[in-house]
């Protein structure tokens, strides 16, 4: 689509079987500086001209041999549904039937015969102006959509890659599944995995307030901050949160914040130590598939108050045990027709095996068919599958 830098550059197609009329209109248009003018003497020729020259505006007579103006209008609208070209139909003042039929066929506007120079030029100018604005808008929309798609690719690269997850699974005897789906093109949720040593691995899930571009930029900031300060990663999740909180407090604008949960799994001592900042609860199952823990250490969100204290809680997590952390988008009341509440989620966790619970969550989020959701959705599900032997329940579920 070439931009209409100024209207004089506009390509105008005049369609009329009367040669005198065509020449009259061409002469009128030239008085305003329009020079890219094409002429067609009937409907069939008009369609060919349209295909060949891609005019910016068509002035169309209705009654012509071979193919009428109504048909030309209809065919262009049918064949090019996304092309919003102005078609100005030239018709008799007294023909109400033609006027109605022309609009039904897809005409943009009418110009009445006998032609008046000022009216014709004014209508052409107005519709080319609209067309120019529409083209600007479409170009802008296309550019932004492309940029957001590229930005989304960049943001996705911050999430653990499949080979990294596979490496963690093999190293620690785990089955890790993470899901992160933004509510718009970009989101403010992120999850991560960081090996600490040969028996401890740190997992985190962060949810920046709001969603969209600004929230996504915060996730990039956090990733860059952690990348530049790798020594911040510690086996103490409360200390880890405290450091991020103070860094975020210095960086994040007023009214923005993050919730976060940090979990350290110790496969030697069979424990899970976690700390949370205003984050939804953590759900834990033992090696018999019984839900043993639904709670969370709570504190203010990150980035609001300097030196906020965080609490670390350690619970048993034997081989075969599982845990599930999620962002609050899962409980959004507009997520679906039957939204989950914290209570109903807890009931599901207590009445289901971990594998079945995960299946229910996936079905609830409809993750096989990504679709628009009201808030970013992220979860991390971790199963200690027990050495190299996969948890049968888990294997069945996956």
């Amino acid at each position: 689509m070439q931009p209409l830098r100024h209207y004089g550059n506009a390509r105008i197609l005049i369609v009329d079987d009367d040669r005198v009329n065509r020449h009259l209109i061409r002469a009128l248009l030239r008085t305003k500086g329009y020079s890219h003018i094409f002429e067609a003497a009937d409907g069939i020729e008009a369609l060919g001209m349209h295909k060949q020259h891609h005019p910016d505006l068509i002035l169309l007579d209705l009654h012509m041999p071979h193919l009428s103006g109504f048909d030309v209008c209809r065919i262009i609208r049918q064949d090019h549904p996304h092309e919003d070209i102005p078609i100005l139909v030239i018709t008799q003042m007294d023909s109400m039937q033609d006027r109605v039929a022309a609009f039904e066929a897809g005409a943009t506007d009418l110009i009445t015969k006998p032609l008046h120079k000022e009216e014709l030029l004014a209508r052409v100018s107005i519709h080319l102006g609209h067309q120019g604005l529409m083209q600007d808008l479409m170009r802008y929309q296309k550019r932004v959509a492309q940029e957001l798609r590229r930005a989304y690719d960049v943001q996705r690269s911050l999430l653990p890659a499949p080979d990294q997850i596979q490496g963690i699974n093999e190293r620690y005897g785990l089955m890790v599944e993470g899901y992160c789906h933004p509510s718009t093109e970009l989101g403010g949720d992120m999850w991560g995995l960081s090996p600490l040593d040969d028996h401890r691995v740190l997992m985190s899930l962060v949810d920046f307030s709001g969603h969209g571009v600004h929230a996504a930029l915060h996730t990039v900031w956090l990733q860059a901050y952690m990348g530049h300060n790798p020594m911040l990663i510690t086996e103490q999740p409360d200390v880890y949160l405290a450091k991020i909180n103070n860094a975020l407090k210095a960086y994040i604008p007023l009214g923005h914040f993050a919730t976060m949960i940090v979990m350290v799994l110790d496969t030697h001592h069979n424990t899970l130590t976690y700390s949370a900042a205003a984050h939804p609860q953590l759900i834990v199952w033992d090696d018999d598939g019984r839900c043993t823990h639904i709670a969370t250490a709570q504190s203010l969100p990150l980035g609001l108050v300097e030196d906020t204290p965080f609490e670390a809680i350690t619970i048993p997590l034997p081989e075969g045990g599982c845990f599930f952390a999620y962002s609050d988008g899962l409980l959004h009341p507009d997520l679906c027709e039957n939204p989950l509440t914290e209570d109903s989620l807890n009931t599901l966790a207590q009445q289901s095996t971990p594998a079945f619970f995960l299946d229910l969550i996936k079905a609830h989020l409809n993750i096989t068919r990504p679709h628009p959701v009201p808030d970013d959705n992220t979860f991390v599900f971790v199963s200690r599958r027990g050495g190299d032997t996969a948890n049968p329940e888990w294997a069945a579920a996956s």
Binding site: G255, T259, L304
Partner: protein
């Protein structure tokens, strides 16, 4: 979208939120923050949450902006009548450490 109303009673600006208070209400709530500056003679601001059914992180962020505006305007801010999910969300975020939360 939330319905946001602001009234002045005695020396108190009363902001009533109902429905779902989310990031979608940002522009509307910005106008409320601007209105606060015209509250000459007011000494307090009370946010009535009785009819609020849901608040997301964007909504909580706007309450933080309100808190900042009230500090600047020297208005005593309170969140009143929160219940159900809204009370739970405020509780998870420990907003009672930042706001006076009144039952």
């Amino acid at each position: 979208m939330s319905k946001v109303e602001i009234t002045t009673q005695n020396n108190t600006k009363k902001i009533t939120l109902s429905g779902h208070f989310t990031a979608m209400d940002h522009d509307q709530f910005r106008a409320i923050l601007d209105d606060l500056q015209s509250g000459e003679g007011c000494t307090a601001c009370a946010v009535d949450l009785e009819h609020l059914e849901f608040i997301d992180s964007g909504g909580l962020g706007m309450l933080l902006l309100l808190r900042d505006a009230c500090i600047k305007q020297k208005l005593a801010l309170s969140l009143t009548n929160a219940k159900g999910d809204v009370l739970r969300i405020l509780d998870i975020a420990k907003f009672d450490q930042l706001f006076k939360v009144v039952g």
